[in-house]
């Protein structure tokens, strides 16, 4: 089973600071890590490879330093890393990013499965995974919490996969033919630690770097000009202030509440 895992390098913080003038993330002084949700995608990809054979290729789009994320992925069991990196891709929104990554997937060639994390911890859009499947016109299953069963390809029939998909209330069981794209939630597995052998392999691994010259994508669909999203303003919503607790006998409390609703909150 040949698997492609898409990852993103993100700042290691849950408290993302935004430069109010440029509307971009402040990255200075913040360590970069693999998006935590992508770690589950990578682990699932590596487990499937260990079970069914094949290869895991890790794909990311980003600046040159995103190569470190690919090396880390190799230390965790991936076989190869591909960095999609070009000034022409800068400023991509989720549409242009997924279009570009889909182009890279086509260049990789035959694959059975693409696995992504459910969303990135910095942008939080959860759109790139589904976007890639749309551009490639393959089935997608989002928020997968468990791969229930996999029927390997046999005479005339391709792979068939049954997965559990996490919903707000309960879960869905979905069957999909492969190739398909999954986005996974953290309930799916517990990612492993790297191994010494993996780290040594990662250090010397050759990372492929693909730019617009390699992918030859539609000039109008990449980078800032290929991005339909326009960011007007980014701001941190003010934190919710604590509520007020009314205590006492019920009739009295109800009276106070009615007064409050009438006057203070009107």
């Amino acid at each position: 089973m040949n698997i492609i895992v898409c990852i993103k390098q993100v700042p290691e913080t849950t408290d993302v600071k935004i430069n109010p003038e440029t509307n971009t993330l402040i990255r200075e002084g913040v360590k970069s890590i693999i998006n935590p949700f992508d770690m589950y995608a990578l682990e699932e990809g590596v487990r499937l490879k260990e079970k069914f054979g094949g290869k895991v290729a890790v794909l990311t789009m980003g600046p040159p330093q995103a190569e470190a994320a690919l090396r880390e992925a190799i230390s965790l069991g991936a076989d190869e890393g591909i960095l999609v990196c070009d000034r022409a891709f800068a400023g991509s929104d989720t549409w242009a990013t997924s279009y570009t990554l889909a182009g890279a997937v086509r260049k990789i060639g035959a694959f059975d499965l693409i696995v992504c994390g459910k969303q990135a911890s910095d942008g939080d859009t959860a759109q790139v995974g589904p976007g890639i499947s749309a551009h490639l016109d393959i089935p997608q299953v989002t928020y997968v919490k468990k791969i229930e069963s996999i029927e390997p390809a046999s005479e005339g029939k391709g792979w068939l996969m049954r997965v559990e998909r996490m919903m707000e209330e309960g879960f869905e069981i979905i069957e999909t033919p492969l190739p398909a794209l999954l986005t996974v939630v953290k309930e799916i597995n517990e990612p492993r630690l790297p191994s010494l052998r993996g780290m040594m392999k990662a250090k010397t691994a050759k990372i492929a770097v693909w730019g617009q010259n390699d992918l030859k994508l539609d000039e109008n669909s990449i980078g800032l000009c290929g991005s339909p999203t326009q960011v007007i303003k980014i701001f941190t919503p003010p934190p919710r202030t604590g509520g007020r607790r009314l205590q006492g006998e019920i009739p009295e409390v109800v009276g106070t509440l009615v007064e409050l609703l009438k006057n203070d909150l009107a």
Binding site: R192, L193, P194, S195, L196, R197, M199, M200, K203
Partner: protein
């Protein structure tokens, strides 16, 4: 201080630190309390490949060096000296096979030990043969194609949990120390049983048991080196493994200092953090300096062994003795800095103090280390 480590050694340190922080620290207090053998952590260490650090690559090891083993042991000990010694004691049981094993013995035993599928132990000490290893009473009598082992070993780290044991026994009592031999013995062989598990002051995650041999048949091909080499096997093994105990002490000292510094910054008395008081600052400064001096000595000794130095007994003894004395002092001071909280089990300081003590005792007491150093010193000046 920058010790100009190679990229590979930095990786070992980074990986061991990750295991210590993410996997060991959260469970250190639990194992200290229950005294259970930390199999879940040993599995993590095995999967990470750290058991390969003391086995040559042709037998499944990964870039083996004494310095690598020291870095791994130091980082693991920062989180728990007890769990770290389960790992380091397997190195101790493996090193004699690496140093003295025949090709067949190495092929048979090392790959599983390198992968961490099996854990090893080294059995020298007996109830009446501690510092005086020549007083060993366990005997190995040759009968045809095998030896019959009889006797009791005690205080054996990993005893009962290890699968592969290197056991020192007398093949010729008349020859004294020169009549000792080393054998590879497997758990489960008839006549090989385990006695009581010791209840210890510290390093409580590790197991310490008695090994009881009653007419235990050991195939002749499991004799390590030659008959009469047991004492040499023991000494050469300890020369290589002592930096590991030193590294364990170093890690315990660093872990205790980390706790003390963190606490001193958080704890407020008289309206300011206690780290603002010079009395405590000087204690912390001394602790940090002593640790750094110990680290320099341990790494220098490990590098010397890796470079192939022949006679390392003195340097190895210095590293073990100094680092363990520093660990005991630093851990005791850490408890002092935490005051009443330092004495309580809810805080991690007292565990470091309990764990530190054994490093002054095992693999040769620090008094024996001083004997080794002094003897070598006198020899050198006599030349």
């Amino acid at each position: 201080m920058d010790y100009l480590l190679t990229d590979e050694h930095k990786m070992v340190r980074e990986l061991a630190r990750k295991i210590a922080d993410e996997k060991i620290r959260p469970v250190a207090a639990k194992y200290d309390q229950t005294e259970e053998y930390p199999w879940e952590i040993m599995k993590v260490i095995a999967e990470a490949g750290l058991f390969g650090l003391f086995v040559p690559e042709e037998y499944g090891g990964i870039s083996p060096t004494v310095l690598g083993l020291c870095l791994a042991t130091e980082e693991l000990s920062r989180a728990c000296g007890g769990i770290a010694v389960c790992y380091a004691a397997s190195a101790l049981g493996t090193i004699p096979i690496v140093l003295f094993g025949s090709e067949e013995q190495k092929k048979k035993y090392l790959p599983d030990l390198a992968a961490g599928n099996r854990v090893a132990a080294f059995a020298v000490t007996e109830p009446e043969a501690g510092s005086d290893a020549s007083a060993i009473k366990t005997t190995a009598k040759k009968e045809g194609d095998h030896y019959l082992l009889n006797g009791v070993k005690h205080f054996i780290t990993n005893g009962g949990d290890a699968e592969t044991y290197v056991v020192i026994a007398m093949t010729d009592k008349k020859k004294g120390a020169r009549g000792a031999s080393a054998f590879i013995v497997e758990k489960g062989w008839p006549g090989f049983e385990f006695g009581k598990k010791e209840e210890k002051m510290g390093i409580r995650a590790s197991s310490t048991r008695e090994l009881v041999f009653t007419d235990c048949r050991v195939p002749a091909e499991n004799l390590l080196a030659r008959e009469g080499m047991g004492f040499i096997v023991t000494m050469k093994t300890f020369d290589q493994s002592r930096p590991g105990v030193a590294a364990q002490a170093l890690g315990i000292a660093q872990g205790a200092l980390d706790v003390a510094v963190k606490y001193a910054k958080e704890r407020h008395q008289f309206g300011k953090p206690i780290s603002a008081f010079q009395g405590l600052q000087w204690m912390l400064a001394d602790m940090a300096t002593q640790i750094e001096a110990a680290r320099a000595l341990v790494y220098a000794c490990a590098r010397e062994i890796d470079a192939g130095a022949k006679d390392v007994a003195k340097d190895s003894a210095m590293a073990k003795m100094y680092a363990s004395d520093v660990a005991m002092k630093v851990a005791t001071d850490a408890v002092q800095i935490l005051g009443g909280y330092g004495y309580m089990r809810d805080y991690p300081a007292e565990k470091y103090m309990r764990d530190a003590k054994i490093t002054q005792i095992y693999e040769g007491t620090n008094q024996i280390q001083r004997n080794i150093i002094a003897l070598q010193l006198i020899k050198e000046t006599a030349k």
